[in-house]
Symmetry: C2
């Protein structure tokens, strides 16, 4: 296996390519403040007249989430929902169980509590998930 330099790309590092489908999905995600499932996003694309295969939506969402460009959330119904990250820093979510509206919140108390609790039990490399679920003001009024 004699190696030979490629023309203009580092070996092994795959190139991202811009496609209509990626752009369309990105556009939908950009205008979507709440978490949405692959199916919902796919439906939205259809509604916009963009034909993108469901498979592709899945593939993209997974890839984007892996790279950290999307926040993902697994619901009780088994669906994974995605949303574009807004804040760079670590944060948590306050989700309305009725309309799905999401507010990003941070919580120094929680961070330090998690650290403390973990340390007390000898745990290292600590990560944590915090989700607060409730009924937002609007939904409580009319729901």
């Amino acid at each position: 296996m004699t190696e030979r330099p490629r023309s203009s790309a580092s070996p092994g590092i795959p190139q991202e390519r811009s496609t209509r489908q990626k752009r369309a999905l990105a556009a939908v995600l950009d205008t979507s403040p709440v978490f949405r499932s692959a199916q919902e996003l796919h439906a939205e694309l259809q509604a916009r007249g963009e034909n993108v295969a469901l498979t592709t939506v899945y593939n993209q969402l997974r890839a984007l989430a892996e790279v950290g460009e999307l926040d993902s959330l697994r619901g009780d119904d088994g669906e994974t929902r995605y949303r574009r990250c807004r804040t760079e820093s670590h944060h948590h979510h306050l989700v309305c169980r009725v309309c799905g509206r999401t507010v990003e919140v941070d919580g120094p108390e929680v961070e330090s509590w998690a650290e403390t609790v973990a340390a007390r039990h000898g745990f290292a490399d600590v990560a944590h998930t915090v989700e607060v679920l409730g009924t937002c003001a609007d939904c409580a009024r009319y729901g």
Copy 2:
């Protein structure tokens, strides 16, 4: 529709029945300190020589969790894991990502933080999920 009193049961309230399968599953759950999936529990039953259909395991787990006898947890892999409740009161979990060991922890800070954050945004009927994931001392040493 003339009504007539039944011999010994209130109408509409179903009776629980004790079966070999239920007992077997309960036994496994009793000796299981960590969260386990339906599949794992089913395998364990097989290993013990108890033939219980996977369907039944699923049915039971769902029923038990509904009644609040089991804590359930949805993992990133899409599997739901179950474990017998230990504490009556509200609590959270500190889970070792390597061996799955679980410690139950409580956190007044978190509770009040969740309340506060939700209230600040006008959310009602607040529930929250908190999970701390880390590597426990043993696994960190040898892992």
